[in-house]
Amino acid sequence: MSAIIEVHDLVKNYGGFCAVNHISFSVPAGRIFGFLGPNGAGKTTTIKMLTTVLDPTSGKLLVNGFDPTHQEKQVRRSFGIVFQDPSLDEELTAYENMDLHGVLYGVPRGERRKRTDDLLAFVGLADRKNDYVKQYSGGMKRRLEVARALLHVPQILFLDEPTLGLDPQTRNHIWSYIQRLSREQNVTVFFTTHYMEEADRVADDVAVIDHGKIVAQGSPGELKERTKSATLEDAFITLTGHAIREEEANAVDRMRMMGRAWRGSGRR
């Protein structure tokens, strides 16, 4: 099996702070790869660099054979993504969000409509498809984002905490779909999560990152064996320690809070 994602000696510094510190790993095509780590470990930063929206300080990246810093368009054509933070246009309807995505990804009109309807039905939003996203609950927005990422069938699917805030039913439903997609269409899945039993169940391979460095790699079984743990959660804690991490709020987070307060008093 050849690697579809290759990361070699990747570094990202923000000023004096090293968010990603000389990491290397590769993901074979068609596998489900779990990228695990405590808050602030460097997971999202790594995904940002793989998905062309952040330039690395140094190191080598290959996504589907292309370099994200110089061959952005080929890389962007290769993947779909569910971001950790919200990424919907709340002033548009669910259907319009899907349609806009389909146009940006060059999905032909007929196929776009059909897949939009199918996927909205799949995530249980068919009867709410003409409602504005701002009227959706958190879980509904998350389901819509998952449906949107699946609208075009990408070779690689990046899922940054895709099941955050979803109930067990929906989590299972979505994961079984993604596993089937991986099996039947050979889609490579790169995901992060804080639910260790979820990672244990679906991931073929995992890598554990902490303080910007990869501390362990292998199948969930291998990690449990190596740390002599019964569950992946125990293995994870053995590998990364008990200390609770502090995450620096960035400007965007602070502003999002401001926006929430402002909109909360203004509109409703």
Binding site: K73, I81, L92
Partner: protein
Amino acid sequence: MKAIYILCLRQLKRYFRSPARIIGSLGQPILFLVALGFGLKAMFARAGQGNYINFLSPGIVSMAILFNAVFSGIEIIWDRQFGFLKETLVAPVSRLEIVLGRMLGGAIVAFVQGLIVFAICFLAGFRIVRSPYLPLAIFFMFMISLLFAGIGTVFGSVLQDMQGFPLIINFIIMPIFFFSGAIFTANGLPKALQLLLRLNPLSYGVDGLRGACSNVFAFGLATDLGVSLVLTAALLAIGSYFFSKIQL
């Protein structure tokens, strides 16, 4: 091309679905029109300058366009905040297409807002002179819209959050409005302010629009046309450049 269209359409949908925004952004130009227009009308006439409402109205229309166009660019910050910007930045379309769609959408919104204010000026007594240049009024309005959508895009791309917003409004946008010839002419101004007026990109749009409506161009039609076209093209290019450098 399709990406430009769908992102432009998005801006228009967001605008037309928000009556509060449409009406809200009419407040400022109407206030200036009524307060200055009627407040200074008698003085302007006594000074032998003619009908102040006729002089002021193109300036007020330009003001409405200026603010709306800059704001459309600054919306990039909101999109960054609410996350939608990411969705467009990872799509397999060039950043040029994304930013052109955004700027075009923002410019059309500002232009429509300008048309509404134009109509309101008529209600306040604004009258245009029958002239062959009249169709150019539309042209100049659209040039101002595009030009300032480009400038707004530069701000929206560079600023990380809304903290810098008042800075831009009070130290850049308000001065651009006041020293553009929108509310008074360059005649009799101190030399430094005359120079400022000459260097202000809005001055040529205001003069072009006023000239198209009154047949009197302070800078000359050719200058207004040439400067507007060159500046608009330049600002669209600069806006695109800054947008293409955005990192998340």
